[in-house]
């Protein structure tokens, strides 16, 4: 886990934040706070994948200062909420491994498209590596992006008829 300074919200030091609240209104406030905290945390730490089984290793779900942890099933239910808004998706059937999209795939896709078109690179073949780690993309939000997530974002472009199938096997793509 990368050690990045997180601006923890006040709830993070509030012990009951780590217990799912029974009162519906309070719970919805709690879940909303968790959703935004998870996205902020993942964006700051560039975390693309969360394995719920290893959740206690994330300071996000485990505040050792107050000795409180978020339970697995609660994490899963919050991640499922994030799934509804396109901000997360489980990648295995047991719902243990989750990809987190602090930008939705659509947002990622349009960012990549912007990048490509701003450089007049339409219709040229670009490797995934170039997008993820190329010199040109260093300033881009998607720099250092995880390949699985990148491919999914590119598939969105493909669905929008803006990317060609070719070259997928050899980690290249072409954007029109």
């Amino acid at each position: 886990m990368t050690d990045v300074e997180i601006d923890w919200p006040w709830q993070y030091s509030f012990p009951p934040f780590f217990t799912l609240q029974p009162h519906p209104e309070t719970r919805s406030k709690q879940v909303a706070a968790w959703k935004s905290l998870i996205l902020t945390y993942c964006q700051k730490t560039k975390t693309y994948l969360i394995d719920v089984r290893e959740a206690s290793q994330f300071s996000l779900f485990n505040n050792s200062t107050i000795n409180r942890k978020l339970e697995h099933n609660v994490i899963i239910s919050i991640l499922s909420e994030l799934h509804k808004t396109g901000n997360a998706a489980s990648v295995d059937k047991a719902k243990n491994r989750w990809e987190i999209y602090w930008h939705t795939l659509e947002e990622w896709a349009s960012m990549i498209y912007e990048f490509i078109s701003s450089r007049g690179m339409q219709n040229t073949v670009v490797t995934l590596y170039e997008l993820m780690h190329g010199e040109d993309t260093q300033e881009e939000e998607f720099y250092g992006m995880q390949q699985d997530v990148l491919i999914k974002a590119l598939k969105v472009l493909e669905g929008a008829q803006m990317r060609d199938h070719i070259g997928r096997r050899c980690s290249r793509c072409k954007v029109f």
Binding site: W10, F18, Q21, N67
Partner: protein, 250 residues
């Protein structure tokens, strides 16, 4: 001489009683008239005083409090009368404005504290929102209390809960809070914003049932959060008393 219980005696008695009554009424009327006159004079003087010190009233919280006390002692409420000379003074306006700002702060913080806020936090936030000039900054807790009292006319949605030692909380959600609930808040305030059934038993000698009923009610009102990860027992937390929540910017 033997007194005879005749018709004459009864009539005589009746007559006497009537005379007493008349005299009594006369005296009462006299006194009333005098008092009305006195009050009238006092009111005129007060009016004069208020218009003379209008600016002072708006600017100086201590002066404001004394003026209010003075009004209260003669049964005049400069806040309740929007008509007449009081409206000219703008004293009511001062408090109405404050009341609106109180509602705004309560609404803005409802998201995190569930509609319960300490008077100190309320004051800090309100002052921050009011702007920089000195006149805007000098709002005393007394002013806030008076303005908040006025909000009670909107029904049970607004309430001031005394916490002892000059501390108060303002509740801005409907739902009555009883003495038990106030006591719980007082205890939680002393105990870093949380409370438990055994704590209440120790401090207030309450039966489990009593504590449980009161605490569950506060959870149902969205005022308390539960924490099940304490090894000993279930804890009840109040965000409105939790320091990090009180101090958080949003």
């Amino acid at each position: 001489m033997r007194r005879r219980a005749g018709l004459g005696a009864i009539q005589k008695q009746k007559l006497e009683q009537e005379k007493y009554k008349d005299k009594g009424n006369e005296i009462q009327e006299n006194q009333f008239e005098q008092m009305t006159k006195q009050l009238e004079v006092f009111k005129v003087n007060l009016e004069e005083f208020a218009s003379k010190h209008k600016n002072e009233i708006r600017k100086n919280p201590e002066f404001r409090r004394q003026f209010q006390d003075m009004c209260a002692s003669i049964g005049v409420d400069p806040l309740s009368s929007g008509k007449g000379f009081w409206s000219v003074l703008g004293i009511g306006d001062f408090y109405y404005e404050l009341a609106v700002q109180i509602v705004e702060v309560c609404l803005a913080t409802n998201e995190k504290n569930g509609g319960l806020i300490g008077l100190d936090e309320l004051r800090t936030r309100l002052i921050k929102a009011r702007g920089q000039s000195k006149q805007h900054q000098e709002i005393s807790k007394d002013d806030l209390m008076r303005a908040a009292q006025k909000l009670k006319i909107f029904g049970s949605g607004f309430n001031i809960i005394p916490m002892g030692k000059g501390k108060y909380m303002v509740q801005s959600v409907p739902g009555e809070l009883s003495m038990d609930h106030s006591s719980i808040l007082q205890q939680a305030e002393k105990n870093q914003a949380f409370i438990s059934i055994s704590y209440l038993r120790r401090e207030l000698n309450w039966e489990t049932e009593r504590s449980k009923k009161a605490l569950d009610h506060m959870v149902d009102q969205g005022l308390a959060w539960i924490d099940l990860q304490n090894p000993q027992e279930k804890l009840y937390y109040f965000p409105s008393l939790f320091t990090a929540c009180v101090n958080s910017a949003s």
